[in-house]
Symmetry: D2
């Protein structure tokens, strides 16, 4: 007998992250999207209608067409959205509205969020299922401490995901000491409104993304840290980043230099990454790829356009693994990670699958 699907809602459903959530939830075996919410401007309209932009076009951006299953759902006003009857709410709300809204909902139901509103709270874990599924235990502490029926479980920033995922097997096998990372980020990471203006990236690179570097540095240490006594002790590794924007649609590329604690040849690093099964192996997560990391020998890989869709957008692709001789032990490599799939909508769905498998939803 097929278990009944969990009824879920998506708040912030019209934005780009919300669209990616819906794509990841279309025909999902365990979740069923029952309700959608967005800003007052969209409230009361059918979802397809709410997507209609000025000029007559559609603001749907994530794929050729919105999944038919959602086109007819009536969009509710997020400000007054009541999650009664839902087992879970996904939140992809923009800006300052996110924190009060997620708090209000989490008092009633579990909330899995793509926003940064709660990421840095001490009782809030940042979980990437293959990396630190055990951190999800902190959600129970959060629930009790705050006296909420639900909880808030955010996913990390899209640029953190690929970095933390590739550092995880390195840290386990060889110990990670210090990391320098330069990102070449895709324009979809900024969403559509306002998003990245074409003027800024045609024949250009923008060398700055506000608050991005701090997020990646802080989140990576938290994700790779150790859960103990109702909080996460951050990993002691040093991380330093420069984040840039390039003319790529989807897929963040990151150039990484790593100092390791223990000796490791490039071949051993490749093997540690390629063979890494992650810490969530026991769970059967529908959105999990066959491999969390795909290692390329071809020095021209990974490329965002060719590799972002690996593993349904959930596999981090790694290449150019070379010894970093400026350290006693070190390695340098390039990674590509899909920022709106692994790093946003589908990543949030994967986390919800983990929480369901662990009995937390």
């Amino acid at each position: 007998m097929t278990p009944e699907k969990i009824p879920v809602g998506v708040v912030g459903a019209t934005g780009l992250a919300g669209q990616q959530l819906l794509l990841a939830l279309a025909d999902h075996p365990r979740f069923e999207v029952r309700r959608l919410a967005a800003s007052a401007r969209s409230a009361g309209k059918a979802y397809a209608e709410a997507l209609r932009a000025e000029g007559g076009g559609s603001r749907w951006t994530a794929s050729p067409h919105p999944p038919a299953a959602f086109a007819g759902l009536t969009v509710e006003d997020a400000a007054s959205f009541d999650p009664e009857g839902l087992g879970l709410v996904f939140s992809a709300v923009d800006g300052d509205a996110a924190r009060p809204l997620e708090e209000r909902l989490a008092r009633l139901v579990p909330v899995v969020s793509t926003t940064s509103a709660f990421r840095y709270d001490e009782d809030v874990p940042l979980v990437i299922p293959p990396v630190n599924p055990d951190h999800a235990d902190l959600l129970e502490f959060q629930r009790r401490r705050r006296g909420w029926k639900g909880f808030v479980a955010p996913i990390p920033n899209c640029t953190t995901t690929g970095l933390a995922t590739t550092l995880a097997p390195l840290d386990r096998a060889f110990g990670v000491k210090r990391v320098w990372m330069t990102s070449l980020q895709a324009v979809s990471g900024a969403g559509r409104s306002p998003g990245v203006v074409a003027l800024d990236v045609v024949d250009n690179v923008v060398p700055y993304i506000p608050r991005e570097e701090e997020k990646v540095e802080r989140e990576t240490r938290k994700i790779l840290g150790r859960l103990a006594e109702g909080r996460v002790a951050e990993h002691a590794m040093g991380i330093s980043c420069t984040c840039t924007r390039v003319s790529v649609l989807d897929g963040h590329t990151e150039s990484v230099f790593v100092e390791l604690e223990r000796p490791a040849s490039p071949g051993e690093v490749a093997e540690a990454m390629q063979s890494w099964r992650g810490a969530a192996e026991g769970f059967d997560l529908p959105s999990a790829p066959k491999r969390w990391i795909e290692v390329h020998d071809d020095p021209y890989r990974p490329q965002p356009r060719l590799d972002r869709e690996a593993g349904g957008g959930m596999t981090t692709s790694v290449g150019r693994i070379r010894a970093e001789r400026l350290f006693d032990s070190g390695v340098k490599y390039v990674l590509v990670s899909h920022n709106t799939k692994a790093g946003a909508g589908k990543g949030a769905v994967l986390l919800a699958e983990l929480l369901l498998a662990r009995g937390q939803i």
Copy 2:
């Protein structure tokens, strides 16, 4: 003795068209920018400060740095801007605010505008100096009829400029009967806020620009029309357009098919365009290029990146002139015109130069 410069103001100074106006007015021999105005958000700040965007960067987009002469000017609130003491105001105001604002100013001083607010009013001429300088006479009629001290003199849409400029010598020499035009427009035409989102043009073409086609069709017939009895009788030519957006920073490309009244070989068409001196030849206009139209033999030209800056951005570049054999007489060609110079800021300054030379300012 150098005549004194006319003191001018620029309203809408922080947007992209306003920036292009300022670039065209820096060190201008006849106009001196004394005052700037923009939205309430910018009012009271020094111009350089007003350009500062969230995140610490500058919204100045038109060149590496804003001209130093303007950085220290205090921006006034456009809504309450009083043009007292100015000989002329340039307007590059966005959206619905343009019409009431330009009307208020034009009651007091001449206004040269890059907006479409008044373009289609019967007593408002659309003047491209080399094409129809005599239409500027209509401004005097407008002034009297409306009882204003000043007037509104708009320039046409940026996509109209190159088309009307190239049709002018064709019409004079051979008669233009019908025109089919497909544009490949640059992203700067939409400005910065919101502008064209990078998501939409990376690896893509957008086949629609709201209201653009109607503007080009209507404006071209008006510009090439005949001034008589206090109004412009539109040219009888038929025009049909499809306007698209491509991943180009500056410079609109247009593919044009023309049915002519009288026989013309490609060589004769090239000669008519290349030798065309325009109707404003008697005037000494500082922003005028040496040639209004530059004809290329190389079939790979014109290209927007290589040719948009021809004649300081004021020359329309034409190439691929071929016989159009589907008509008794016809020609097809490709043109490139700089949309934010000839088609916006510098084009407006050129028009002001004409009006000054004709004694209307």
Copy 3:
């Protein structure tokens, strides 16, 4: 009982069109790729090895990885390739070598080709299966006349495919008199070696593609013509094109203006296209899409990035259907067609499927 698959060879297998052929033939229900051939440089190497470029990367461009089934096949030298034992050869050979090579092969087996070598020969049909499948009868005439065991069946130029496909239902329903088309073509159309240099399309449009316009004009009239007495009588319609290159990876966009013989509203045109089932309806062709033409209401569609993969890359997407008022009866629209799928590799496979279904292979 499953019928045995036809053993086929692919000549010119390492180029971009050859790669697209292989993608379209991977796991094909009726054809099985047994042998590959390319230039002497590749001969004797395994296919995966032959793709390896200088610097260690792979020249495979059409997708993330070459289909595993072909990686181990040994590439033969096209110059001495003997098709013995094959039921069909696909040819995607570059340049001047194509004609003598295809002739040599066609003396022995049927050849379906993406090249232009034989397209304009009088006894060679240009078949797009939904448009003019009956023209394939000319292959039998060709075979007899030349005394060959096989024949050469080329597909049209990639820019012709979308145009001829959309004109077909228009011509049947309303009669097509004259056509003006401006293309915005993708860079993949030029292949990889030399292909379009990035220098030429970053922040740019190239207004010329050598010989492209003549091909489209001539081929469209031939495809839409009538087969009679051992030759195709070209359609009498007039066609005039300007072909440009833009910064798009895959998917040609075309802006089309059509004069019709008989009255047609935009709604009737949309209906004629959308409901068109093509002339190959009786045949069960595995590469055929559900619909040959998809009509969009959203004025922002079709876009190459969003619509090129419609129908597995075999559907032509049409939008912006408007009345063309410069004619007694006319219509204008924009189309997107996948240049390396419908317009090259998969289009050739579709033609082979038709020839098989008609018993010609």
Copy 4:
């Protein structure tokens, strides 16, 4: 009295680096281009004619039009080019032909080269005029040792130039210990034939440029080294690079992390760079910019499109200077350097100006 100009020749004049040399030499106050040479294919043709590509276009890429002064010069065959009568030859020859050709010419006259043929020879200096003008003394040693009348003076790789230029003032003021650099390189760096294929950079990043990283690492240590006893003792700093290609026309962006020997705040680093006058200050070099390094406060700068032309393409722009806290003392920053001006044609002309000023030509 104006001194007579030195008559010079340019070998490899039709390629992109050769074009950039000619642009930098047009109307030069001290050099006069008398003769041009290229491959046999171009020999005997006027330069403008030699640039004409298949299809009728021009292979001139560096600017809208080749300088008129050179259009009529007859191109000679580089293989048999005799430099008799010239005071200097600039070489921008491609590939393996460079080394024997430059050797043949240097036996007779000084050769300033943009190629890598001789860069790593022990008696060959790599001179960036503001950084290590004294290394030019090694040319006299080279001349004597090889028994040549001339010498070969190469400029470094285009990616080295900005890095070495910014490290020079850092090293002098604070001591440079280790450097990690990730580049985002422009497509013009690869020239036109074959150059970077558009297919590879539309919506993409290519994470590998063959041999580039080794060049940058080795050259930077040599440039910043110390000349002693007839050779350059390389600087002891460690350098580690990852070089990538992005969709930018001109201007390499580099993200740099530096470990310093001595404490330095971001403000001190900015001051050391901005105030740096270089070591060639006594010389009056026509191609020198007013400032070798321009430091930006705006975190969104430098951007390649906005900053590559700073100082006529000869100024390195630096921004995002931040403390690098993973070291006892360190700094991180982003730089933009014009790869075909400072890093190729104009950089070679600057070096020739230095050699002339030092009496070595």
